[in-house]
């Protein structure tokens, strides 16, 4: 067991090294005058961090993100739960949520820009549109998948409606809701990046676009990677929370 883990981690490390190596090599050749090396990108990243530009930018992006994702959670989860509790509503709303999930919502961005201009709220709206359907769909699925026998058990013990909600439905839906929050988060980040790139005004997107407009591609790479890093950090954070809340699943 221990050995095989050492092997697995060793190989993972090797994969990372190979990727970095190829990147560095491609930047040195260079494949393209615009393509920065890994080291240049690392340097730019350190600079952006050191100068405080990146933290500041993240501070701004975070506002749009929290506004959009927060609203999506506050609206999507209760709405999804409601859909699960009121079946006809669920069946109808489900179809529209499916459409929102299937359709490339990025196509709506120009419309958002035209109607709202570029403000924090426009970015937030895009983040909202991207993540809300997942949150609602999962909450809905969570309620819908409550095992019929648990309902029945609770009813057999003469539980009242609110008790069933509190003691059976919500805890039972929690894993799905949390999974939805995680997936929604990942989608929200996609929305944020699209908003930042297409609207390009405030946060990290601004660093990316500014860097690009002055052809500082090392800086642009660094900013891009920092967004991805931030997304992954947040996601793993949420995963921790999830693991803690769902300790009963082991």
């Amino acid at each position: 067991m221990g050995e095989s883990w050492a092997l697995v981690w060793g190989l993972r490390g090797a994969v990372v090294l190979v990727v970095l190596g190829v990147w560095e090599w491609a930047g040195r050749v260079p494949v393209n005058f615009a393509f920065p090396t890994a080291t240049a990108t690392a340097r730019a990243f350190a600079e952006l961090l050191g100068s405080g530009a990146l933290p500041r930018a993240f501070g701004i992006s975070a506002q749009a993100f929290l506004l959009g994702y927060g609203a999506a959670v506050l609206v999507g989860v209760p709405f999804g739960l409601l859909m699960g509790l009121i079946r006809p509503l669920g069946r109808i709303a489900r179809v529209y949520l499916d459409l929102l999930i299937t359709m490339p919502m990025a196509a709506l961005v120009p419309l958002v820009i035209l109607t709202m201009g570029v403000r924090i709220t426009s970015s937030a709206l895009i983040v909202f549109i991207f993540s809300m359907p997942f949150l609602a769909t999962n909450a809905y699925g969570g309620v819908r998948d409550v095992q019929a026998r648990l309902y029945e058990m609770a009813r057999a013990f003469d539980a009242r409606w609110l008790q069933i909600l509190r003691m059976v439905v919500f805890p039972s839906a929690l894993p799905m809701v949390l999974a939805g929050m995680r997936y929604g988060l990942s989608r929200a980040f996609i929305g944020l990046v699209i908003a930042e790139l297409l609207l390009a005004p405030f946060g990290v997107g601004r660093i990316i676009v500014d860097a690009r407009s002055v052809f500082a591609f090392d800086r642009m790479f660094a900013a891009v990677l920092s967004v991805i890093l931030a997304a992954l950090l947040l996601l793993s954070g949420l995963q921790q929370v999830e693991a803690r809340l769902l300790h009963w699943r082991r």
């Binding site: 095992q147 026998r149 648990l150 029945e152 057999a156 013990f157 009963w248 699943r249």
Partner: protein, 263 residues
């Protein structure tokens, strides 16, 4: 019994009888039950057996008050059933435990629903958990227990609300046969202890004859009462004395004969 419990655990001093009168139930076109009339005396152990789909579960749910019959009615201690009540508790085939709740929380579920204060809940839970042999497992989660132990939790949960009637739907169908035998004996001991009326649904002829005073055989499509078998084996029963007896073997074979007839 502890004093303050009385308002929660309504006196189970005397078990109640069940009277099922002309009950019918259809699901769309499927006539699950057709004019079932039978009665169970207070304190009796009664088994219901029949092929798959003959309406056993449906009948039990109607008695539990989870389903309304299309026709006929069920009376418990002479009072018509209108819904679930504290006089009945159910034990389920697949245990129906809350996976996110510890053994303790699962066992106290019924009491919590009925608003019993925490110290009362815990006192009662300790007692029934010990009774089903799970002392020390209070803080385990269902997935950490074997199937047999999970069903003990289900049993403890039903006992915790101290009902006069236990309704059991194939409670031992999901555990292996050796474990099942142990659980059956435990159930007999429990039942001897606190006389309750028991209505047990099963597929197992052996189980029905071994446990019950009376076996109701249902026939399918539509579900009808097909035969009543009186089990006059002496009590207390145990595997050695009861199962090894010729009378037991004969009763099981008779039952098998009846069931085969219907297939």
């Amino acid at each position: 019994m502890v004093g303050p419990l009385t308002n929660v655990q309504r006196s189970a001093t005397h078990p109640l009888g069940i009277a099922i009168r002309g009950v019918s139930k259809a699901f769309g076109r499927v006539r699950a039950l057709d004019d079932i009339t039978l009665s169970v005396e207070a304190g009796q152990f009664v088994a219901i057996i029949g092929p798959s789909g003959c309406g056993k579960t449906t009948l039990l749910k109607i008695v539990a008050g989870l389903l309304r019959p299309d026709a006929g009615r069920v009376e418990i201690g002479g009072v018509p059933v209108t819904g679930p009540g504290p006089d009945r508790a159910m034990v389920f085939q697949d245990f129906a435990l809350l996976p996110w709740a510890s053994v303790l929380r699962n066992v106290t579920f019924g009491l919590e629903v009925r608003g019993a204060p925490r110290p009362v809940r815990h006192a009662v839970a300790q007692r029934v958990i010990a009774k089903v042999g799970l002392a020390g497992f209070e803080h385990h989660y269902p997935h950490q227990l074997s199937g047999g132990m999970q069903q003990r939790v289900g049993l403890a949960r039903a006992l915790a609300v101290n009902p006069q009637i236990l309704l059991m739907d194939e409670p031992f169908a999901s555990v292996d046969e050796q474990t099942r035998r142990l659980l059956q004996d435990d159930l007999l001991t429990l039942w001897a202890d606190e006389r309750k009326t028991v209505l047990l649904v099963t597929h197992s002829m052996d189980e029905a004859i071994y446990l019950a005073d009376q076996v109701f055989v249902l026939s399918p499509r539509p579900g009808r009462l097909f035969r009543i078998i009186e089990v006059d084996l002496p009590r207390p029963r145990s595997s050695q004395t009861t199962r090894a007896s010729a009378a037991f073997g004969r009763l099981v074979e008779d039952l098998w004969g009846i069931l085969k007839e219907m297939q």
